[in-house]
Symmetry: C2
Subunit: 444 residues, 2 copies
């Protein structure tokens, strides 16, 4: 191959092949959902094999990748995206518009602004709120905590920061604290209840003890292990009283704002100073797509952004905000999916997943060999097998499930004990499938 | 719409439409490359319009987005990706494999490891080097500088850090410093030559003055304005002598490692402690895709990673490394493109872009009305119009180019003066097109 000219490629036949490839991804398969690893023979070849090889390369990728589209692949907060979003992502990739500069993303900039405003409104934040899309929940939490610390405006007095976090905080909160240079001694983990939900009285006491310092409180709506939701309203009121920054990590639980039946779990999020939500989870778009929102809006311009010269259209460049520079137009994929499915259908799906989790919990109670570890708050459920307590035995069963079962739960550690864990995220998972998976696990 | 079941969608006809949509993206268009913004009427509709509306939605997105595939869209370090990469991105999005856990990305984890090893080798770094893909150059620079500061292992003594940066550093280096809590007084900008290239003697003197402190030197290979490359070999030797961390921001210039004729520009990168490269730029994959590499490998495990329990296969989870958690399998897209085109064809494209930039520089010299601002080092060229010195007049001409010309240069400020700037990144740009664009600009 002597050139890499874009016009050399005949796109139409490849698009048909792409369609067939996607059909194999979304078609239910038999056999294991997590393929074993085998050797990779070519990494950076000097001579390319040409576009004729693409169908084979895609097939290889599909066969050697984990089948997240499977309704029985329930191990993590991870599912395949809605196929509308996967297809649209191809348009987004080809256009490659860049949220850094408005000239490089006129429509994506407008859509991002529209979605940020609409999400803020859905969560009850004031119309003056601002925010940005960013590449995943960890970057979103880092951005929020950076701004909470003073952001670009004040980088001098970070030693006065005291970070109060839920017991069931996400790992990215601790990563962010390390990046920001907050020493471990200045991070206070609030004691939680049985699923790690923080106890407001403990926070109140902690904040009193640290009065006069720069207090930041980071709680979670939808924890990784149990889907626990901290008592947002009570915590918010305490933060207001102590003049502490109130951050809500709603990367997982934020989608509840679309549920008719369960949005009350988010009550209190409207007083947060910063909120992060993760469309890549329960809004069924491909990763990585997260959003950070700030209630203070323009008041935080200097904290949250590095100003850029205005665009040729006179509007602000989106690259002014946050920690990233060039950004992919993930907002376009999310927007397109919402145009196609609407918010009501998403809400119904969330309600249906919650009902399925209740039913699954019932099965875990009814079965002789299984025991749920908690009442489900969201669509996550941890459980154990009666009589299977040795870690060796638990991991051995889990390994057999990985290699032999047509589905997958994960193993999660909570307060030094290992549990099986199900996240009921794929839209087409049935109670029958859950029963079969449980039987396979019990009999293994 | 009552459900969002994935199986409701008939993928094949949509894939054909997708193919036609991509053809319109990659087909040369007439008219402006940057559309004007018009009102958006729907953001979060309650009722979706159904998948039948997808072709129309995609068409709207294409028509309202900037045409980066145009060979005359030369304003920034931004082009459309190779269509092979755009198509493959759809497979990557649908699979949605997650680099956080190995069980969620067995093949992508292997490919990422293979590419990191291969890039390190190409750059002359030792085989023990390690690294990770991350979501864009800003996160890559932040990750590198975080590790340079001590990473997760030492977050206590960041006040001893002195950060020495090139005059032509990327904005993300200063953003990263703010996030890390390095005060402005501890950031020393090295005086540069005419295009900002740092002068080794000045660095030597600076490091002597700060002996005994935690010195980090961040230089650039391919600056944003001129494509300037700092004298890496000399700087590397000085860093070694002073025991300073040597970071090379090669987000743009890193691709030179594939060029037969121009890889010598990177001489000295092999002694760097950390290097970042950006496949999303000159390797023609969609944004955001960057790679951070560390020479010390396992020695930096505790700086660079938060350990995770080993996977069911016994291998390390890729999510152990870096600042992100869930990550998209961008490595698969890059790998697929390399299998199709090979490294030699990419190198030829880079050489051809360098030759075109030389020829363009010649035209700027030959024309009466244009004057190049510098000799081209990479495929970037800044220039001015003789007799057009008032900023108002420069921006007015630029605005006319934006609305009327079938192509686009950007405006960039360097040492308080505005220049027109061309980045010759699209593979099919011709000297004739450049001539026509120059004529349009001169006559406007």
């Amino acid at each position: 191959m002597e050139t890499i000219n874009f016009s050399d490629l005949d796109i139409a036949p490849l698009a048909s092949t792409l369609g067939r490839t996607l059909e194999t991804i979304y078609r239910p398969a038999t056999g294991r959902v997590i393929p074993s690893e085998t050797q990779v023979t070519s990494i950076l070849p000097e001579e390319g094999v040409g576009a004729e090889a693409l169908p084979g390369l895609w097939q290889e990728i599909v066969e050697r990748s984990t089948r997240l589209a499977e309704p029985t692949m329930l191990g993590h907060m991870d599912t395949a995206p809605h196929p509308v979003a996967a297809l649209t992502d191809c348009v987004v990739s080809a256009l490659n518009n860049n949220l850094l500069f408005r000239e490089l993303s006129p429509f994506a900039s407008q859509i991002e602004e529209g979605l940020i405003e609409a999400f803020a409104q859905r969560l009850g934040l004031p119309v003056s709120s601002t925010g940005t899309f960013c590449s995943g929940g960890s970057i979103a939490n880092l951005t929020a905590l950076f701004v909470a610390c003073g952001g670009f405006e004040n980088i001098e007095s970070r030693d006065r920061v005291r970070l109060h976090v839920s017991e069931c905080h996400h790992a990215s909160v601790m990563k962010a604290a390390a990046v920001l240079g907050i020493p471990k001694a200045h991070i206070l983990v609030m004691p939680g209840d049985d699923t790690g939900r923080c106890q407001p009285s403990a926070l109140d006491e902690q904040l009193s003890r640290h009065a006069g310092l720069h207090n930041i409180v980071a709680v979670v709506a939808g924890s990784t292990i149990h889907g626990a939701i901290d008592p947002l309203a009570e915590i918010g009121a305490i933060c207001r009283r102590h003049d502490a920054w109130f951050h809500v990590d709603a990367i997982y639980g934020g989608a509840l704002c679309f549920s008719g039946q369960h949005r009350h779990h988010l009550a209190g999020v409207d007083v947060a100073d910063s909120v992060v939500i993760g469309p890549q989870k329960w809004m069924y778009v491909p990763r990585v797509c997260a959003v950070v929102l700030f209630r203070a809006g323009a008041e935080h311009d200097a904290r949250f952004g590095v100003s850029l010269p205005y665009s040729v259209t006179g509007a602000a460049h989106r690259g002014q905000w946050g920690l990233q520079g060039s950004r992919r137009a993930d907002a376009l994929t999310l927007w397109t999916l919402f145009q196609v499915i609407g918010t009501r259908a998403l809400g119904l799906q969330i309600d249906s997943a919650m009902a399925l989790t209740e039913a699954f919990h019932g099965r875990l109670v009814d079965r002789m060999m299984t025991e749920p570890a908690h009442r489900p708050e969201l669509n996550l459920q941890c459980f154990s097998l009666n009589g299977v307590t040795a870690e060796d035995e638990i991991t051995a069963r889990h390994r057999r499930m990985t290699t032999d079962a047509p589905g997958w739960f994960s193993l999660s550690r909570w307060r030094d004990r290992l549990y099986f864990r199900a996240v009921l995220l794929p839209p087409e998972t049935t109670l029958t499938q859950l029963d079969e998976l449980l039987s396979a696990l019990c009999d293994s």
